[in-house]
Amino acid sequence: MIGTYRRKLLVASAVLATGSLALTAIPAQAFSVRNEIGVTSTSIKLGITLPMTGAASPGYNKIPGAMKAYFDYVNASGGVNGRKISLVVKDDAYTPTASVQATNELILKDKVFAVVGALGTANNKAVAALVNPGRRGIPDLFVNTGFSGFAVKKSYPTTFSLFPSYVMEAKILSMYIKDKFPGKKLALLYQADDFGRDALAGFKTGGLTFDTYIPYAPLSQATPTVPPTWISKLQAAGSEVVVLFGVSSATAAALGAAYAKSYRPQWILGSVGGDATAIKLAGVPAPLFTGVQTASFLPAPADATDEYVKLFQTINTKYNPGVTFDNNILAGMNTAFVTVQAIAAAGKNLTRKALIAAIETKGSTFASAGLTPMAPTATSHAGYNGYWFGTYDGTATLKPNDGVYTVYTTDSGAGAVVKSTYKRPAMPANGLPTN
């Protein structure tokens, strides 16, 4: 009796399996997809994957809202060539597994035209390896990571970087520190993974050695034991300048622990961990920021004299109500801006191929809020290539040193660090890119 029953169960399982696979009775598709997927005469569908939940999400989870706000602004003015842009957001909680699944859904289920602003080095690598937007010819625009490899067209044919690489950042920091803090005792506190190691390589190229190196495991800053030990070590070593290459929650933990031990070195934060909103959200009171320095490639979010910042602030108030304007909003809107610029440059007959070609040929002349030029070419998909340095005041507002943006540029190789002479092109009328 039970045996019959078991057989029925097995059959039921098989039916269930078959059924679940055949939920959509669409016949098998040919692998080559037609280029106009995700585009109609009136619409363009884009997708993004990033951490909306989990330990890495604070700050970053404001990016899609900012991008949508800018797209809404463009749509309200008629869209790009009559097409309105929509953005599908997928949470990956910063795990590559989820990124792959989410990207698959974006491409196969939501059928997006392109992926824009996907976040995370490991995440983008996994997506590139498996979903392989490159082979499918799907544009993977302006990834949200500083891994230098994504700029290499041979490895990632449809992926475009936007941010300067971590190597560039470390090289520029090396120059800056040697110049401004000669003879001081230096320490480097860094996340012991590829992110931190990329930076180590950059500091080596930049010729800067630290007196003290403190690596730590990613996310371990949340254990009560870890952050105080950093500070004890730094104090014991008598470090006067501490460079921190980690995420914002690590910056928060370090600043908090230093405060508790009355330790006040010159802090210099890497651009990733220098996001004041995220750090404040992590519990560090604004006055602790006084004198902390960081590097950035976009204008300071509080700089209302900047035409882009001013426009983005207005858009944020109107289309993203209730959300404080900060680094992440600025970065998100800028990514959306560059995307619109690229779509406009691809022309009326919008195809994936045309879009990629447009960025490769016209990318270096794109308008954007960035204070350094973008550097895409037919062989390299690099984005911005430089940084300026700023200091936080007692209200956690970042201001450029000496009141002016002094931008330094370099490359991810052995190239020198030079003071940039780049003049940012004027913002297109009403912040609506055309050509």
Binding site: M1, I2, G3, T4, Y5, R6, R7, L9, L10, S13, A14, L16, A17, T18, S20, L21, A22, L23, T24, A25, I26, P27, A28, Q29, A30, F31, M52, T53, N61, G65, V89, D91, Y94, T95, P96, T97, V100, Q101, N104, E105, L108, K109, T121, A122, K125, A126, A129, L130, V131, A192, D193, D194, F195, R197, A217, P218
Partner: protein, 333 residues
């Protein structure tokens, strides 16, 4: 037919038949479903390994994700360093994970319920961080895993997803067939005896420590296979591919399937694959608030887990079966 299933040959024929149906189905659906099918097959293998451990030998593991990680990394390292054929890599994943399971199982056999649960929990948290200690493990970014293109003989239009699906489904069928055989063997009976009453089993001459260690070893080997399949379906291995939540969802899948019944394994696997879609549909109706969209899948799975444990603790399959047995018994009286 059911007599057929009780013989080894019969089960073999049945699984071949099942495989045939599945492969036919694989040709009929689009790429997304095929990809989900591969994930489904991975879950089937992973959940089976937990059912074997918890349902058949009474041990709880909250850290099976760590064993999946061992399998995944083994397969990837074998592939990347020695460029071995893919099936050899999978075999290596099974063997390495089983070896790790044997070591762990020896320790586990000395531990009772809560200690074992906690130790495996700590393992799931602790083990992936090893990857950050050794550069050959690829750190936080992990290592790429390329199982290679499908054979030319399958045609130019044969997509990699379908290839993954074929591999995963075959692996799942082989694993299930083998597990069905093993739980009906002497070992299976020994494990059930130990689970039922450890002292009585010992009195009956069963070395309960050995039996538990063996169960842990076999379960770990199967988990290793699941890890290799997971690495294949996401194309990489990295510490973040094996988070604590993976271990928890596998356990959830096992409970939904009914921890004591291998045939129910499909229920758990389908639930795990379908939950994100269902929750997406629900959150669409609720107006797509970001907080709801991102938290709903976890919430649904947890609620389902609690409901099952409260209402049908031995799983839906076992519940139906025992209802049937009771009904038959009352008739016979």
């Amino acid at each position: 037919m059911h007599k057929l299933l009780h013989s080894n040959f019969g089960r073999f024929v049945f699984f071949i038949f099942l495989g045939f149906i599945i492969f036919l189905a694989g040709n009929r659906v689009d790429e997304l479903r095929v990809y989900q099918g591969a994930t489904l097959a991975m879950f089937v293998v992973a959940i089976s390994s937990i059912i074997l451990l918890t349902g058949y030998s009474g041990q709880v593991s909250l850290g099976h994700g760590a064993l999946l990680a061992i399998g995944g990394y083994s397969a990837v390292l074998a592939r990347n360093y020695w460029t071995l054929p893919i099936w050899v890599c999978f075999a290596i994943a099974v063997l390495v994970a089983a070896a790790a399971g044997a070591v762990l199982g020896t320790a586990a056999a000395r531990l009772s319920g809560p200690y074992l649960a906690g130790t495996t929990l700590a393992l799931a948290v602790g083990l992936p961080s090893i990857a950050n200690q050794f550069s050959f493990l690829g750190g936080e970014q992990g290592l790429l895993f390329d199982v290679g293109a499908p054979p030319i003989s399958l045609g130019a239009d044969f997509s990699p997803y379908k290839w993954y699906f074929w591999i995963a489904a075959s692996a799942a069928l082989i694993a299930l067939w083998w597990l069905q055989n093993i739980v009906r063997s002497r070992y299976g009976r020994t494990w059930r005896a130990v689970r039922g009453n450890e002292i009585a089993a010992q009195l009956a001459g069963i070395h309960s420590g050995k039996a538990k260690t063996l169960a842990f070893t076999v379960s770990s080997g199967v988990a290793g296979l699941a890890g290799a399949l997971l690495a294949m379906t996401i194309g990489t291995v990295s510490p973040s591919a094996f988070p604590l939540t993976l271990s928890f969802s596998l356990l959830t899948g096992a409970v939904l399937s009914g921890v004591t019944t291998l045939p129910g394994v499909m229920i758990g696997a389908v639930t795990l694959v379908a939950t994100p879609e269902i929750s997406h549909a629900i959150s669409n109706r609720l107006g797509n608030s970001e907080a709801v969209t991102t938290n709903l899948p976890g919430l649904l799975v947890s609620a389902l887990l609690i409901l099952v444990v409260m209402l049908v603790p031995n799983g839906p399959v076992e519940q139906m079966r025992s209802m049937r047995v009771r009904k038959n018994a009352s008739i016979s009286r």
